[in-house]
């Protein structure tokens, strides 16, 4: 197995773990944690392809990963702010109990 295949398999496993977390947990914060894990798995793929790709000096994959990290940080801030506001409004972070859009 080439090193790149190993990294890709780890990233695939990490993505699946994150997806399972996002789909099976009730707590909204845990769902966000699952989404963060999925984003990180994508970053790992980008860096691995950059490292073993034909032109690492072009820095394409590296730049993509850096911008992706910045966007993920913004996403986490807004997502957790929304969770806090929903908790203040509905007094729960249980996603199974959030079944209507009316406030």
């Amino acid at each position: 197995m080439t090193p790149l295949a190993g990294y890709l398999l780890v990233a695939a496993l990490l993505f699946s773990i994150g997806l399972a977390g996002a789909l099976t947990r009730r707590n909204a914060i845990l769902v966000l944690i699952g989404i963060e894990l999925m984003l990180n798995a994508a970053n790992l793929n980008l860096i691995a392809f950059w490292r073993y790709g034909p032109h690492p000096e072009a820095l394409t994959g590296m730049m993509f990963a850096i911008f992706s990290i910045a966007v993920a940080a913004a996403e986490a801030a807004v997502g957790l702010g929304l969770v806090i506001q929903i908790h203040r409004h509905a007094h729960t972070t249980d996603l199974d109990q959030m079944n209507r859009m009316k406030g």
Binding site: L14, L59, A74
Partner: protein, 166 residues
């Protein structure tokens, strides 16, 4: 495939599994930190020093702390009586397993075509800075705008509404 890679990959995956499976939410956040640290080590193993240290600063320094803050503010550390898993957890598990099966199949099928070991690229922070200021200057500006918008948006969304002030 070195022993170091297997050790770091095992640490990362164990952290991710614990973050998804543990019952206490605070423990989940701590396990998530372990997973992020393992990912940073994987980045360093891939000779991407800048991305590795950015991962440590942004994820362990900011996102993990933010998650802990959110857990404490929402009192989410109390384990709910009716379990921590959603009603349709089996469907979620099946979907995740299916996604992993497809991804793993694709990787293993194309493993022969993937490039083999290459010489480690020597990328300095100077080169990254030059690229950010020349070729990638427009994306950099857009990310700056996005971060400002996210900052203001998060503050406005989470701001406490006083009664009768609407």
């Amino acid at each position: 495939m070195s022993l170091v890679f297997y050790a770091i990959a095992g640490l990362t995956l164990a952290g991710a599994l614990a973050a998804v499976l543990l019952k206490n939410t605070v423990h989940c956040a701590l396990a998530l930190t372990v997973a992020f640290a393992g990912l940073a080590l994987l980045f360093l193993e891939l000779d991407a020093q800048f991305a590795g240290f950015a991962q440590i600063l942004v994820y362990i320094g900011a996102v993990a702390v933010l998650v802990v803050f959110a857990i404490l503010l929402t009192r989410g550390s109390e384990t709910p009586k009716d379990g921590v898993y959603s009603r349709n957890w089996l469907a979620g598990l099946v979907i995740a397993a299916g996604v992993f099966a497809v991804l793993g199949w694709a990787v293993l099928e194309s493993a022969r075509a993937l490039p083999h070991e290459t010489a480690a690229p020597t990328v300095t922070v100077l080169q990254i800075g030059n690229a950010l200021m020349s070729r990638y200057v427009l994306p950099l500006e857009i990310v700056a705008l996005l971060l400002t918008a996210a900052l203001i948006g998060a503050v406005i969304v989470a701001m406490h509404e006083k009664e009768g002030q609407k």
